[in-house]
């Protein structure tokens, strides 16, 4: 797989740099795959015919963001939603991996909510750190998007044999640290996974990456290793995150990690800028440089492949 990645290195690096619109995931028996929404629209999923179901991931909509390189994060979010609606195979549901809002304001949450309702699909959320900024530290988000969740907003559900786990790693962050799950959530996760057959595919989603992408910018989760230990016995685990506004991927054992693009603005690749602040590409480039995510994983002991390429590649 490393050879494959190297062979597509140019496209991979290119697509890492720019904001996109979301990713579509398909489960095909034991094989899961994902493809960027633009690619899915341009060329319908070949694997879709046999796929029992698909779901889409949207991330980091930052509704309310209005600075370079994107004067209107609402407009680009609306575009992402339109792309999901136009997919040839209608996803069963959508996950939003956090930073729904820029500043946790009611009007930001409300606009995101109204736009997402236009999908006519169930949407599952986890909060990002931008969604925790109300005076009550996240209650505004939970009241609207976290009904039925536990603690700071974690929960799980099953869909057609796949177990989905929504984790929160943006609450009660510690000075000098990165993302944090906390003891209570880890104890809940242990109970949630107990008794499940190791053959059941697991999809975990959380805002901040559950592996350390770049510690200097806080792009990781301090106690992720404890969660991954609990997941290690499963044959197929896919971890979907946002937060860093670019695609990064890693495979460790049977766990495939993937971060999604933002619908609002790109961020620099790790260490390539003085800070992780918005990458200020000209607005007209933002739309022309949307990329493609094509990730596929194989259950069990088979090798897992996650490959990215750009639309123009």
């Amino acid at each position: 797989m490393l050879d494959d990645m190297d062979g597509d290195r140019r496209g991979f690096l290119k697509c890492m740099a720019w904001a996109g619109t979301g990713a579509l995931f398909a489960f095909d028996g034991g094989i899961g795959s994902s493809i960027g929404l633009d690619a899915a629209l341009a060329a319908p999923l070949k694997r879709a015919a046999a796929a029992p179901f698909t779901f889409a991931q949207i991330s980091d909509s930052h509704i309310g963001f209005n600075k370079p390189p994107n004067a209107d994060a609402r407009a680009t979010f609306r575009e992402a939603i339109e792309k999901v609606k136009a997919l040839p195979q209608r996803p069963d549901f959508v996950i939003h991996t956090g930073d729904v809002s820029q500043l946790s304001r009611d009007d930001e949450f409300d606009d995101a909510d109204q736009m997402l309702k236009g999908l006519g699909l169930p949407v599952f959320f986890v909060p990002g750190e931008h969604d925790m900024l109300d005076p009550d530290g996240g209650k505004a988000f939970l009241n609207r998007f976290g009904k039925g969740s536990i603690g700071a907003g974690w929960y799980s559900f099953d869909h057609r044999g796949v177990h989905f786990v929504a984790l929160v790693n943006v609450a009660d962050l510690k000075p000098g640290g990165m993302g944090n799950l906390g003891a209570a959530q880890l104890a809940w996760l242990k109970d949630d996974l107990a008794g499940r057959p190791s053959s059941q595919p697991i999809v975990v989603f959380a805002h901040i990456p559950l592996w350390t992408v770049y510690a200097d910018w806080g792009w990781g989760t301090d106690d992720a290793a404890e969660a991954l230990k609990l997941l290690a016995r499963f044959g197929s685990v896919t971890v979907l995150n946002g937060h860093i506004h670019q695609i990064t991927q890693k495979i460790e054992g049977r766990i495939a990690f993937h971060t999604a693009r933002s619908t609002a603005f790109p961020q620099p690749a790790p260490g390539t800028a003085p800070s992780p602040g918005p990458l200020k590409v000209p607005a007209e480039q933002l739309h022309s440089m949307l990329g493609v995510t094509d990730a596929l994983f194989v259950r069990g002991r088979d090798r897992i492949a996650l490959i990215d390429s750009t639309l123009s590649a």
Binding site: L103, S104, G277
Partner: protein
């Protein structure tokens, strides 16, 4: 945690009209000493002055110069800003000597310290 420190509000220096008639020396002795002030810029996801030493009674003002919101939160619950969007400021007056570590609760790798000397 006892909140031993209070926010101070600046009072616009007011001089009675009669005060203007006084000699400069007399005015100096009558006016309260100007409150000490210091500032910390927040830029590029860092507190630009990592360790700031001030005298007791100094009001420190943080200003967010980033395009991304930040907060200023004491490690020990002594002070806590609201979310600071671009250009927003937060001030706190350090009345007592001590060492006060703080961080950004959104981006906790951002840390700083105010050292207050008596």
């Amino acid at each position: 945690m006892t909140r031993a420190f209070k926010m101070l509000t600046f009072q616009a220096p007011t001089l009675a009209t009669a005060g203007l008639m006084l000699s400069a020396t007399a005015a100096m002795t009558r006016a309260a000493p100007a409150p000490a002030a210091a500032s910390v810029q927040i830029a590029n996801f860092t507190f630009k002055t990592q360790v700031l030493a001030v005298k007791a009674g100094t009001t420190v003002t943080w200003t967010n110069a980033d395009d991304i919101p930040h907060t200023v939160v004491s490690r020990d619950g002594v002070f806590k800003s609201k979310v600071l969007d671009t250009g927003d400021k937060f001030s706190f007056t350090f009345a007592k000597a001590g060492q006060f570590g703080y961080f950004c609760s959104l981006h906790p790798h951002m840390t700083g310290t105010i050292v207050v000397k008596a």
